[in-house]
Symmetry: C2
Subunit: 375 residues, 2 copies
């Protein structure tokens, strides 16, 4: 029976990729709920509360803020928070001690000045794109901690003890988040990026097929010409850049798991994505040609119907093959073989089309071979 | 002398748009510093500290977290934080009171259950795209506040008093952020979106010019053929979608200022952006044609050199005109006039090119007229 349940669960998981309803979102919500309950135990269980006291608040705050959908995002936010707290706390203590030495009204002035300088400098850093991408949250927490420690230090409280206790509860919150995130159905950004890249190959392949089919269907003008393949896939590829970058960013933080090692080349996924987006652009203009009212007259089109029909399936098939080889992380056929085949087909193609409109599929080919050369 | 300083400052501001160094970033950092110093006064000035006490911490936290680069972003985050705190606090009080009624060990169980249910539900909501876009931060704060209030209520503290005091300090932090953000050199997301849209028209126009120039320059093969216009502009247009959406999102929160009313049609900026991105795609494939090795032979090209040279400046000029009319928020020439002119040029053009490669500029035209029809 347990196996049966498991099957249903797997089925739900698989449904994700096609349907709109996404059970991973439900799983994520439940995970957040579990993490919150765990961290609330610091308040709810008396022996624990006696240990941490009001500082339990910081653990709850950490869980709420740090827990993200992907494991990599949670790790990155948690580590950023930790680093920001430590660095901000240390510098804050230093500033508070220095301000104490000044004494008198100067203390407040010194504290205010240090708050201004460090706050402005860290805010400026946050705007630098390379820092913003990876360490934005760390700098935010740095500003917060520095400010809190530097000014409350003047109130004569035992800043260092306070800072240490808070750090301890933040670490507790972080550990709870990480364990819940990694141990209960972890969602890996790396898996998502891997799958999205493979899907892109598939989208482009179906778009090429669908595009040609519609083109010649239009010319043949016979209604029976089979089903038209959906070929909107290229549109999702076009707009995937920022999503890919975010995923790659998270994936870098994720520990070894499944088939991904520590130094998995995430950069290459981005490169492949860029090339596939260029292909998607070509397809988009193919579509424009198709919908344009300035179609060349029939006889010319039929001239190169045959070579096109030979090329398109080969292109689509090669793309799918490449996608599969990435999916399974196996070497595809040797590059030279594919490129040679492509070039011979291209030669046939340009001979066949010769001096009529060469643009129809020429670009596609030019860029496709470009993609293959890159891999 | 003061005027002189002002001039230098203005000069720095104007430099922004071209150079890499961006003084608005410096201004933003200084503003953050100022807001932090103001909010630190709650700690540093004794009479103020006597009023708020340790809760001053929440004011500092609010300023650090809420202060964003654009005024609209600050407003949206601040209001989200306020709403999240109020709703989370009220529901949290309710949950704590109900748990109190249960009594005994059941209290902790009741509190834990409510934390789980509300935490999971709110996390699920955060994943819904339309909520994520606008209210993500509000839901985050809701979870945080609800959790803190619901569990600390069990500790027999005066939750309602505590919640009211915290809310008051959060409001203080919010007011300081908003005043600093709006009164000292405000950065409006609406201005940025407006300018970015106008720049897109300009980028596309120069790309069309540059593209044609390079094309015929290649054919003429004479070195003297003037300077080549930079035409990489279309690339920035291609990748602008997510940035535009973010800006429009912030712009909606911004109050009336300058030439923008309360119900400025930000949606239309997004529509125009989409159309310009389609144009950028066409230009991108023009470039592919250009760099492809499969150039048609010279005589064919020269055939339609003249019509191209007539069309390109008109297209570029029309685009710039439209950009300017958006910039100055004036009505452009009546649509019918532009479209009629475009169509007559297009007719001439297709006659001139007739049955040779029609794709060269056809798409551009087709889409350009599409753009104009939309406006």
């Amino acid at each position: 029976e347990a196996k049966n349940k498991n099957d249903i669960f797997l089925f739900l998981l698989l449904k994700t990729k096609s349907g709109k309803y996404d059970p991973t979102q439900l799983i994520h919500s439940i995970k957040v709920g579990i993490a919150l309950v765990f961290v609330s135990l610091l308040y709810l269980v008396d022996p624990l509360y006696d240990q941490v006291g009001e500082n339990a608040m910081w653990a709850i705050m950490t869980v709420v803020v740090v827990f993200e959908f992907f494991a990599g995002a949670t790790l990155s936010k948690g580590l950023n928070r930790g680093m920001g707290t430590v660095v901000g706390g240390l510098l804050g203590c230093l500033a508070a001690t220095l301000a104490q030495e000044v004494g008198g009204i100067g203390r407040a002035v010194a504290a205010g000045t240090s708050v201004f300088i460090f706050g402005a400098a860290a805010s400026y850093c946050r705007l630098v794109p390379s820092i913003k991408r990876k360490y934005d949250y760390g700098f935010l927490i740095f500003i917060l901690t520095f400010n809190l420690v530097a000014v409350s230090g003047l109130r004569g409280e035992q800043v260092i003890v306070l800072a240490r206790e808070r750090l301890a509860t933040i670490v507790m919150g972080f550990v709870i988040s990480i364990l819940t995130s990694l141990l209960i159905f972890p969602m890996w950004a790396s898996d998502e990026l891997h799958r999205a890249t493979v899907n892109k190959f598939d989208h482009i392949a179906s778009s090429i097929e669908g595009c040609l089919e519609e083109y010649f269907y239009k010319i043949d003008d016979k209604k029976e010409s089979a089903k038209i393949i959906k070929w909107d896939g290229y549109k999702s590829v076009l707009q995937s850049k920022s999503k890919d970058e975010t995923l790659a960013n998270f994936a870098r933080w994720e520990p070894w798991h499944g088939k991904f090692g520590f130094y998995h080349p995430w950069e290459k996924y981005l490169n492949i994505g860029d090339l596939l987006r260029e292909l998607a652009i070509s397809i988009s203009s193919l579509k424009d040609c198709l919908q344009s009212s300035q179609q060349p007259v029939k006889p010319i089109n039929l001239n190169f119907k045959e070579p096109c029909e030979a090329v398109a399936p080969f292109l689509a098939c090669t793309l799918r093959e490449l996608g599969d080889s990435i999916m399974n992380m196996q070497k595809s056929r040797p590059e030279a073989l594919i490129v040679a085949k492509l070039q011979s087909i291209r030669l046939d193609f340009s001979e066949a089309v010769s001096d009529s409109a060469t643009i129809m599929d020429g670009d596609g080919l030019a860029i496709a071979s470009f993609v293959f050369l890159f891999m």
